[in-house]
């Protein structure tokens, strides 16, 4: 274990545990107003302002060149046909760029590209072995499970912030909780989130090359999200809190009529505090990959720079060796070699 790993692993771990302690002590000291109202509002404020700030920061820098990664045949002669997949992998029009981005954002297209080839021993084959191709999708699967579970969990939480609760939240609720082997109903999304985040964490720790590149900024959000998931699950299934009171608090926050509600267990405040930290941390962290991917110039541009002019706003004239200078230097030799010149002498 290198010192580098220790620093980047244990400090964020201690930080997350510290946050739990802070929330616990705070609530024990009757600071419900702080943890139930002030901190959530602050976190929301930081999240929104930070996000806007970062987006403005990014968009202030122009995209001087059209540099999409072309992952399929480009526009060519009319008889070279492209299927839909190729049109999305090398988009020519805005419509196809939207398609490419949608695939990237909703289906993690690029991660899905991982393929493996293997020479399998096969005695039946004339050469004793044959080549097989398969897709290597573990990272893709882990990532997609993680993100979708997270999304479902967030949407499910809308039932605390809305009154009446929108229909789709109920629907989601019943789909998510169709496995009724436990009371209360177990939400799959929570389990999937926990397992997927656990996988993403373990792979960082266990694979030497990933351990080598991982930083505190990689472990911290994972620890945070894992703690949020664990406290959420504990609260729902084991240390039950007063749901009605929680909803009261949440609605108060959502309708800007905040109030301190008595009788909510400390575990709720820990959960809420960690969520607040996540939101406040979001705009200043690598989690900004979520909005960032939409701005990625290798993905969000049409590959049309040969037939539609792309303008660089800071394009400036450069000095280059002009033909006149060139001819001045080589005129005699050019005349001798019968290469046409502008000036005979």
């Amino acid at each position: 274990m290198t010192d580098f790993f220790k620093l980047h692993f244990f400090v964020p771990l201690a930080a997350v545990l510290g946050l739990v302690v802070v929330a616990y002590v705070g609530v024990q000291a009757n600071l419900q107003l702080l943890f139930g109202v002030v901190v959530p509002y602050m976190a929301a404020l930081i999240f929104i302002e930070g996000m806007v700030y970062r987006l403005i920061q990014w968009t202030r820098s122009p995209v001087p060149f059209r540099i999409p990664t072309t992952a399929a045949q480009n526009k060519s002669l009319p008889w070279i046909e492209k299927n839909l997949g190729e049109k999305l992998d090398n988009p020519e029009t805005t419509k196809h760029v939207v398609g490419r981005m949608a695939l990237e954002v909703l289906a993690f297209r690029s991660l899905f590209r991982n393929t493996r080839t293997e020479l399998r021993q096969d005695p039946d084959h004339p050469e004793g072995a044959r080549l097989i191709h398969w897709s290597y999708k573990w990272l893709w699967l882990g990532a997609i499970a993680f993100h979708y579970a997270f999304l479902v969990v967030i949407l499910r939480h809308l039932r605390f912030f809305t009154e009446p609760v929108p229909g789709f939240v109920y629907l989601l609720d019943s789909v998510d909780g169709f496995l009724q082997f436990f009371v209360p109903v177990v939400y799959l999304s929570g389990l999937v989130l926990l397992v997927a985040a656990g996988y993403l964490l373990l792979r960082r720790i266990l694979r030497p090359e990933l351990r080598y590149i991982s930083l505190a900024a990689d472990y911290f959000p994972l620890f945070l999200i894992l703690s949020i998931a664990i406290t959420g699950i504990l609260m729902r299934y084991f240390y039950k809190v007063d749901i009605v009171a929680v909803k009261d608090l949440a609605l108060g926050l959502a309708t800007f009529k905040p109030k301190v509600v008595a009788g909510i267990g400390v575990i709720f405040y820990i959960h809420l505090f960690l969520v607040c930290v996540l939101f406040a941390y979001f705009p200043f962290s690598k989690l900004m990959h979520a909005p960032g991917v939409f701005l990625s110039p290798t993905r969000n541009l049409a590959c049309n720079s040969r037939w539609v002019r792309h303008v660089n706003p800071w394009n400036y004239p450069v000095k280059f060796h002009s033909y006149a200078e060139y001819e001045d230097k080589f005129r005699e030799a050019m005349i001798e070699a019968d290469i046409p010149v502008e000036k005979e002498s």
Binding site: R116, T117, E118, L119, P208, Y212
Partner: protein
């Protein structure tokens, strides 16, 4: 049981251990990847090494044409000749087979007549080691030849233009 039979019986484990020893000489952050990745095209380095070791091991077990032995040694040494820049490091792999066999067959080797056979196998390994020097030298010479060829290719058009040739007399 004879040593030769034992060696072919344990071929797979011995080869894997040998390969892993060899891969251990890469930075620990990457040796794990080299060991795990089985795609011959995505992990050509370990693939080539493993092919080479397999060929060399087979040559140890049964008589093999010299060209084939050299080709198998070359699979390994062609990689090693590029990366270590020290001949001893490039050919050290062949000697690693000895401890691998000794450890893998530790209990069996305690029998007296086997240890005699073992000496024989080890001297065959020594023979292979001698061949390694040939292969290594060939590879290093190849590097210089390629350097020269690149320069030649840069000017060969010009030479043809002037009617000169770069072909050496004996060719």
């Amino acid at each position: 049981m004879k040593l030769a039979d034992l060696l072919s019986q344990k071929k797979a484990t011995i080869l894997e251990r040998w390969l892993h020893l060899l891969l251990d000489s890469y930075p620990s952050e990457t040796s794990g990847f080299f060991k795990k990745e089985k795609d011959p095209f995505n992990n050509p380095l370990a693939f080539r090494l493993s092919q080479g070791l397999q060929g060399v091991y087979e040559a140890l077990l049964q008589d093999t044409a010299r060209e084939r032995i050299l080709a198998s040694l070359d699979d390994v040494i062609s990689i090693k000749a590029l990366e270590n820049f020290s001949p001893s490091q490039a050919v050290a792999f062949i000697f690693l087979l000895k401890p691998v066999i000794r450890e893998e067959l530790a209990t069996e080797l305690k029998e007296a007549q086997l240890s005699e056979e073992c000496l024989e196998v080890e001297s065959r390994i020594d023979g292979l080691a001698l061949l390694c020097f040939e292969v290594y030298m060939k590879r290093r010479e190849k590097l210089y030849e390629l350097r020269i060829n690149e320069v030649k290719n840069q000017v060969s058009g010009l030479m043809r233009r002037t009617g000169l040739t770069l072909v050496t007399p004996q060719q």
